[in-house]
């Protein structure tokens, strides 16, 4: 008797548990599901009262419209984000190696570097606009890339320094004894050991840059426009509201992030909290 009551309690609490979790998940997934279905709706279904969830005749029309109008944005996003992330990774890794091994800048440098992160970006938006205007770099890809590199470097240095710190110095010293230079030691040994960290840092900064809005909004117009800004142009439409292509471009802009998250799930907490939590 006792056992079956206890069993029933366990089953009930399990069921409640799964109900609770599923309900929570359901709440968080509703908007995403909505975006997905809206992107395959035909124009008549976009704005319908009451709202339609699953279209009866799905179509890829919205995606076609996006491919006609927004390709430049997609191209630019890819070039700008990937390019600046690679450069930031390269420069940042070398710098963080110095900081980790030689303690350049003493104890305070890493924290100072990280504090650049706490500033709201709007603080830099105004002076950058003025600066770029005089340099003629408005609406150029390299202009935006430069800013992204500058903002990514602190995070890259911080994260990769953490990875380098985990490698014992004895390893370097052994290779020095064997006749390597610091550079050689870096390339042959250390880089191989931190390689997974490099990959995850790279993916993290790509993730952060991909959706960057403020600087892209201020500094790009037509040539160097990125996906977030292109997306925001849909906001301005009042006569021909296009929810379908808007949802389609949203989806296109989100899928790379989804793929990335699959790879860096493990490093996510560390990257997002700047290593504050082990």
């Amino acid at each position: 008797m006792q056992n079956s009551i206890a069993r029933k309690e366990v089953i009930l609490s399990s069921v409640l548990f799964y109900v609770a979790i599923s309900l929570i998940l359901f709440l968080f997934l509703i908007p995403i599901v909505w975006i997905f279905f809206t992107s395959i709706k035909s124009p008549a279904d976009w704005m319908h009262a009451p709202p339609i969830w699953v279209p009866k005749s799905p179509t890829l029309q919205s995606f076609k419209i996006v491919l006609e109008n927004d390709v430049k944005g997609i191209q630019n996003s890819l070039i700008i984000v990937l390019g600046s992330s690679i450069i930031a990774l390269f420069v940042g890794t070398i710098a963080s190696y110095s900081i980790s091994r030689f303690h350049v800048g003493g104890k305070n440098l890493p924290t100072t570097i990280l504090s650049a992160y706490f500033l709201p970006p709007i603080i830099f938006a105004v002076p950058f606009l003025v600066l770029y205007k005089t340099l003629g770099m408005i609406d150029t890809r390299r202009g935006l890339m430069l800013i992204y590199i500058a903002f990514n470097l602190p995070l890259v240095i911080w994260m990769i320094k953490g990875f380098f710190d985990e490698i014992p110095k004895e390893l370097d010293e052994m290779s020095l004894i064997d006749g390597c230079t610091w550079w050689g030691s870096l390339f042959r040994i250390d880089l191989r050991l931190v390689a997974p960290g490099l990959v995850s840092s790279f993916l993290l900064i790509v993730m952060l840059c991909w959706s960057e809005y403020m600087f892209a909004l201020v500094l790009t117009q037509r040539e160097a426009i990125t996906i977030p800004v292109k997306l925001s142009l849909y906001w301005n439409e009042t006569t021909r509201i296009q929810w379908g292509p808007q949802a389609a471009l949203s989806l296109i802009g989100t899928i790379p992030l989804l793929i990335i998250i699959l790879f860096i799930q493990r490093y996510l907490v560390r990257g997002l909290t700047f290593g504050a939590i082990k």
Binding site: I123, P127, L272
Partner: protein, 279 residues
Amino acid sequence: MVIPALGTIFGLLGYPLLVSIRMSFVEWTPLLPDNPFVGIDNYVRVLSSPRFWNAIRVTFTIIGTALPIELCFGFAIALLFNRKFAGKKIYFSLLLLPLMMSLVVVGLTTRMSFNQYYGFVNYLIEMITRRSFSVDWFAHETRSLFMLIIADIWRWTPFVAIILLSGLTGLPIEPYESAQIDGANKYKIFRFITLPQMKYPILVAILLRFLELLRFFDIGMLSTRGGPGTATETISIYIYEHAFIYWDLGFAAAATFVLLGIVSVVVMSFVRILSEKTF
């Protein structure tokens, strides 16, 4: 070896900052031919502008409402997830999805979803309450603020949940075992064992969310754009409007530094609290 990196950072970030400082003491609009030095005039104008204080009020209202809710909700989710169960990986990955939405997408989706007739929010509420609910979220001041808060909660609660969950999984088991032997109930266990040890992750989560909420821009810009009127105009939107719509650059630069002052105060208090905790 450090020079290229440091040079880029400090040069690229430091120099504009200096330019901005100079700008804030100058009356600068591209529409006028020269930039007369006006001392602290810009700062005075900023601090005496009711619209500025409205922006501060809006920003802190959002922070004060969204942060506690995200914290509680995120903690609850973290507690639920802090055990082995079938399908945990899948559930967890799905929970991360809102985090993958860029804020621009969140803003646009908010605009779609909260539409009075065609959005699904009103529709769902009608389904649940079985009463007609056709509310215009955008034309009403409090409601539009509420809408933004809901959007922020939706977008960031998983973030808080992840941080707290990683804190929870790092907690030692022994205190729990001895508490169970001593016969403590769940509430006491939570209050006297779990909570004290989670102080650090909680503070980190609060700090990160606070800083992010202070610069609330993308979601607001892409849904209400500060409207109706200035009811949802946060500090960042306020500065943006003055810099790039009114082109009152000196004024905007001054407002920027006032914001910087606020951020510094916040960060310094947190650093002080955090360093005290380690003792």
